[in-house]
């Protein structure tokens, strides 16, 4: 199966010096080439995590007359002509010009969603300190850009918890395939499909929050606003390059249309904001729109490694025991280690869970599962080093020693945001309660919120 976004990550032959630092961060050994020579990406292997884009320092010199002009390179990369930042050898083809065009098309009704990790990073592109938390400015900027509805992936992160939590309880109590794997990271999903297809039944059937949002925008969202679903144009802003691939998966059209029309990265949103001449730092804060922009602290911690697990446990605990969780801060699943395991008491049940950050770290875990030597119930896997805050679509840090700082601050402020939210458990989100009362029924739940996976070998 070939999707057109395969090969969206490329290495510019004119700029690549063959230092091969990218091969050190590529989790699937997809970068091929001789030392000192330009590298190429094996698109079958590549999981589009974008970590090569983050590490690459082989920039295009404005004074080098032997390379193609900057304008030509920007066009090949599909960047807005107003972008001034330097270009690097490893890059992804963008979609900001597409979004710019859509925003001036009055026949469309535009809806946008923003992933949890975007709000702790986008301000960096406007010179604010690393990890600055700016959900209100981001919502304001999206409104100024002209989106008709500014919704939030955090809402569907909460919805994912409801669906995935119930799926886990069902698998545990009714003897389903265990351990269950999270399915929100599209690079991880692609990796399972291509390298461990025999383990596909372990993946949760839940779509990622991006795709749940997409499916709801053109159904429930269109109903709420009384607009024709065919006129809804659905945009996502993601810390991730692979989300571009995920939204173009052929099956992701359960609303009857392409559920997410286009995904842009955190960096691309910053470029659009600058292109429109918006003073991001000076914007007064605004709210996300209701109903699909209302979220809890549990939704926002999806951006950090361990966050999906923590959010799921907060809800699973209360759904299973019917009692309030003693401490909502489940620090035992937080951290930066590549693999963290914990036993969590949920009533009479002891849930054995594992959290994996960095795709390479999952291989021993998968081998143990195949050998029957791992008795976990639930495993969260994120491809990027410390989860989505360190995603390939996030702002690229200029000085390597400051990258760790960026990751720490983005993670820290993700939890600060959680602590300051009115609701911190997905099942307490009033709009989640409402959507289950007003719109979601057994039939469309399965159709809109769940999916199937494709072995790729």
């Amino acid at each position: 199966m070939t999707v057109k976004t395969e090969g969206i990550i490329k290495i510019d032959k004119e700029l690549c010096t063959g230092c091969r630092r990218c091969t050190g961060v590529c989790p699937v050994d997809a970068i091929e080439g001789e030392k000192g020579q330009p590298q190429t990406i094996n698109v079958e292997r590549c999981v589009l995590c974008g970590q090569c884009v983050q590490i690459c320092s082989a920039y295009a010199s404005a004074f080098d007359e032997d390379i193609a002009p900057r304008e030509q390179k920007m066009e090949e990369r599909n960047m807005l002509p107003s972008v001034k930042e330097p270009l690097f050898a490893s890059y992804y083809t963008g979609h900001a010009p597409t979004v710019k065009k859509v925003l001036v098309n009055n026949s469309l009704f535009t809806m946008v969603q923003c992933a949890p990790a975007v709000r702790v990073a986008i301000a960096e592109e406007f010179g604010m300190p690393l990890g600055s938390l700016t959900p209100g400015k981001m919502a304001a900027a999206l409104k100024k850009l002209g989106f008709n509805r500014v919704y939030d992936t955090n809402f569907t992160a909460d919805l994912t918890i409801m669906e995935e939590g119930n799926e886990l309880i069902k698998r545990v109590t009714e003897g389903g395939v265990l351990p269950m794997f999270t399915s929100c990271c599209p690079a991880w999903v692609k990796f399972i499909e291509q390298d461990y297809p025999e383990l596909i039944p372990h993946l949760s059937s839940c779509k990622s929050p991006q795709q749940m949002a997409g499916a709801l925008f053109k159904t429930y969202g269109a109903q709420v606003d009384g607009v024709d679903a065919a006129k809804v144009y659905s945009v996502s802003v993601m810390p991730c390059v692979c989300k571009k691939f995920e939204c173009e998966r052929p099956e992701m059209k359960d609303s009857g249309y392409r559920d997410v029309d286009v995904a842009i990265t955190t960096r691309e949103l910053a470029q659009l904001i600058k292109d429109a001449g918006i003073d991001f730092n000076g914007l007064p804060e605004e709210e996300f729109d209701k109903p699909l922009g209302t979220y809890t602290g549990a939704g926002t911690i999806f951006g950090a490694t361990g966050g999906v697990m923590e959010a799921a446990l907060r809800t699973a605990y209360e759904l299973i025991t019917k009692q309030e969780i003693p401490d909502v801060n489940l620090k035992l699943v937080r951290g930066v280690e590549g693999v963290r395991t914990a036993d969590v008491k949920v009533g009479d049940l002891t849930l054995k869970v594992a959290v994996v950050a960095g795709l390479k770290n999952v291989i021993p875990v998968l081998e143990a599962i195949k050998a029957g030597k791992a008795d976990f119930h639930f495993i969260e896997v994120m491809t990027c080093p410390v989860g989505c805050v360190s995603g390939g679509g996030q702002p690229k840090v200029l000085i390597p020693d400051e990258q760790a700082n960026a990751y720490t601050n983005r993670t820290c402020n993700t939890y600060v945001h959680d602590e300051n939210m009115e609701y911190r458990k997905s099942h307490n989100n009033p709009e989640i309660k409402k959507i289950y009362e007003k719109f979601l029924v057994e039939d469309n739940i399965h159709h809109l919120l769940h999916t199937k996976y494709t072995p790729r070998r």
Binding site: T17, R21, G127, A270, A406
Partner: protein, 195 residues
């Protein structure tokens, strides 16, 4: 009289992988923006060390802070001088004549446009004919390694090199080390030497 020799940074070509991290860091720490991410960079990357990559050798080249600096001796407007054991350019005085560039045996001197607040600075009178008609010509300035004179942690290139290929050479220390090595070696062969 100060007889201390000027230090300089040099890369070990056996270690250098040609990643240009040094060039990027050099440009970033000398820029007037304090942004930490690529999106905050609005001016061209203008490093003060230059990666050489040929079939034979890969390494950056930068200023040696020569004791008898040819650039300074050739400068017609006295814009280059030695300050605290560093050869530094006074960009206010520079007229962009390129004499220093021609005089430097390493090619360590560059000439780059002057930027202020993200905008290129243009000259008062000199115009340049372009496709868009006559435009004010940009101010061009001599540009080279200043050993990160304003950086609290020393030269950025050394700090960021993933292969630890760059080193700050303190000439007298190297000389002293060589003397000791020579003496030690000599001890081994002293018998043959004096019978």
């Amino acid at each position: 009289m100060n007889t201390k020799l000027n230090s300089f940074v040099v890369a070990d070509p056996r270690k250098c992988i040609g990643c240009k991290a040094c060039e990027l860091a050099c440009a970033v720490v000398h820029a007037d923006s304090d942004g930490k991410t690529v999106g905050t960079v609005e001016t061209p990357i203008m490093p003060r060390l230059f990666l050489v990559k040929t079939a034979e050798v890969t390494m950056p080249i930068q200023c040696r802070h020569c004791e008898d600096a040819p650039c300074a001796n050739a400068c017609p407007v006295d814009a280059i001088s030695q300050v605290d054991n560093k050869i530094l350019i006074n960009t206010e005085a520079c007229v962009g004549c390129k004499t220093c560039m021609m005089a430097c045996p390493f090619g360590a001197m560059d000439l780059v446009p002057k930027y202020k607040d993200g905008q290129v600075v243009t000259q008062n009178g000199l115009m340049s004919e372009t496709e868009d008609g006559l435009v004010e010509k940009e101010v061009m300035l001599a540009h080279k390694c200043d050993l990160c004179v304003d950086q609290p942690n020393g030269p950025a290139c050394i700090r960021v090199c993933p292969e630890k290929a760059l080193e700050l050479i303190v000439p007298k220390q190297v000389k002293r080390k060589r003397n000791v090595e020579a003496a030690t070696n000599f001890l081994d062969s002293v018998k043959n030497f004096f019978d």
